[in-house]
Amino acid sequence: MAGAVKAPRSIDDRIFRFGTGVFAAIVLLLVVGIGFELFRQSWLSITKFGLHFWTTRTWDPVAGDFGALPFIWGTLYSSLIALMLSTPIALGIAIFTSELAPRMLRQPLAYLTELLAAIPSIVYGLWGIFVLVPMVRRLELATPEWLKKVPLFHGPPLGVGMLTAALILAVMVIPFTSSVAREILKGVPMNQREAAYALGATRWEAIQVAIGFGRTGIIGAIMLGLGRALGETMAVTMVIGNNPQISASLFAPQYTMSAVIANEFTEAADELYLNALVEIGLLLFIITIAVNGISRLLIWSMKKRVRVAAATAPPPALVEERAA
């Protein structure tokens, strides 16, 4: 857009470009700075425990011995279950609000589902404690004995635990995945679907073609949701039970990386303890940076492909107008 007209080159313009660029550089610096600070504040723990920190499960502030494995397990396990629950629902929403719903309803429905992202984490947590936990406890009490022998459903009927946390996480993650997936689907050129219809495809088969075209971006959308789930703190802290154990059971109270930071940070009296907690934060930072970075790259490369496809599309009269 700016490239269409060449502005007169003057000192003035160079100052403008440099001046605003400095502020833009602050954002870059912020990301690097966060990583650096986390490194610096966890150095004691990194040098003392090394890899040991990630592979052991003692968490003993009194003896000064720290292993973060149960927290890593809890974070990964809860996010994975949440993703398994949220992905089909989020994709369904994206498909319905971009392809199937009556035109009048598309925007309002999309907006309503996105409201899920506007509810603060603490409110999810509050609702979780007082409504969802009792509901899950009833469910656990109603679980038949023979089913409880399966490791997945082993454990006391507490209500708090992995299942409750994963359910809340799933709901929280849905809007992030669905809104990006919807944008991607809206960007898929009409001719992809038209070609499918021309070959006699049903509506669903045409949608599958569109999904196939947009798969890179849709994977990006799912990873964006994963990034959210990994870092979510308050809601999970309030319902997961905060018990550092490694268990496959959905009913067992467990612990996550963000939850242990939230709970213990203010009481970390000695330096090593604090460093150990910051090191957990550092790992969380590295994981989410990687997940989000890959997700963004996928979504961007998808958008670029959409633009290229749009540029080589058949006459515009046949193509429905869509914002890329």
Partner: protein, 282 residues
């Protein structure tokens, strides 16, 4: 023939499942909002806004200090994030295709995905640790860091909504870029930028995790920026995990207030963006 019938049936079922997915997502939305309204609206009273928290065991009291604290924290955060975020957004919109802009855009998106608790740790180590005291400033810095990427991206997008004819007109008249931005583009984009700031405030107003060990909590009225300060969200958290019924009631009232505030902000922002889009459609 039966094959084609089967395919059509499969298509119908799949379409119905997609509609079902929307319903499934709306169920928790309705349940949560409904419960917050039911529990919160009844508990919200004048005292909630005007009184201080009562000691344990005494019924009543309010969250005046926490409401004030949240306003203070958001003000500090905006003071930090709005100038940086807006100017960065202007740069991205004016020089959209340089490599530097792509890298910054990527950094902003990645920063947006960093868990808020991690941002809290950084604010702790930068602001709290050197002086060994929790403070309102530390909380504001944490929220500010969370706001920056949101302000950057919305500013950029909303400046891009300004019709290119306006910019080209200014440049054609011989204006330098600085002049065209300051006198033409910014005034046209201002409502959009304000909207972006609203969106960012709505997003950070509900944050709890980064405040736990930066602004901490304070049951008393505090106007000092270098002392711990209460906030709605941390207060809700403290009350939620306490064993007292009256505190639970107040937690719900706080949640109600918070949700209403955030929903209002985001609906206003949504309407404003839609109006801008309609106004600027070529």
């Amino acid at each position: 023939m039966s094959n084609s019938v089967r395919r059509r049936v499969v298509s119908r079922i799949a379409e119905a499942l997609c509609a079902l997915a929307v319903v499934i997502a709306l169920v928790p939305l309705v349940l949560i909002l409904g419960y917050v309204i039911k529990q919160g609206a009844g508990s919200l009273n004048w005292a909630f806004f005007t009184q201080m928290p009562k000691p344990v065991g005494e019924i009543g009291g309010g969250m005046a200090n926490a409401i004030f604290g949240t306003v203070v924290l958001i003000a500090i955060a905006s003071f930090l994030a709005v100038p940086i975020g807006c100017i960065c957004g202007i740069h991205l919109a004016e020089y959209p295709h340089t490599r530097f802009s792509s890298v910054v855009r990527f950094a902003a998106d990645v920063l947006n995905g960093v868990p808020s608790i991690v941002i809290g740790i950084v604010a702790y180590s930068l602001v709290v640790l050197p002086v060994k005291r929790f403070s309102a400033i530390a909380g504001g810095v944490a929220l500010g860091m969370l706001m920056i990427p949101i302000v950057v991206r919305t500013t950029e997008e909303l400046i891009r909504l300004v019709p290119s004819g306006l910019r080209e007109g200014a440049l054609a008249l011989g204006a330098t870029r600085t002049r065209s931005v300051i006198t033409v583009i910014l005034p046209a984009a201002l409502p959009g930028i304000l909207t972006g700031v609203l969106v960012a405030i709505a997003r950070v107003a509900g944050e709890t995790a980064p405040l736990l060990f930066t602004s901490f909590n304070n049951r008393f009225w505090s106007t000092s920026l270098v002392q711990p300060i209460g906030s709605l969200t941390v207060q809700i958290f403290t009350y939620a995990i306490s064993p007292y019924d009256d505190w639970h009631r107040q937690a719900w009232a706080g949640a109600f207030l918070l949700v209403m505030m955030i929903l209002t902000l985001s609906i206003v922002a949504r309407l404003a963006v839609r109006r801008l889009e309609r106004m600027n459609r070529p």
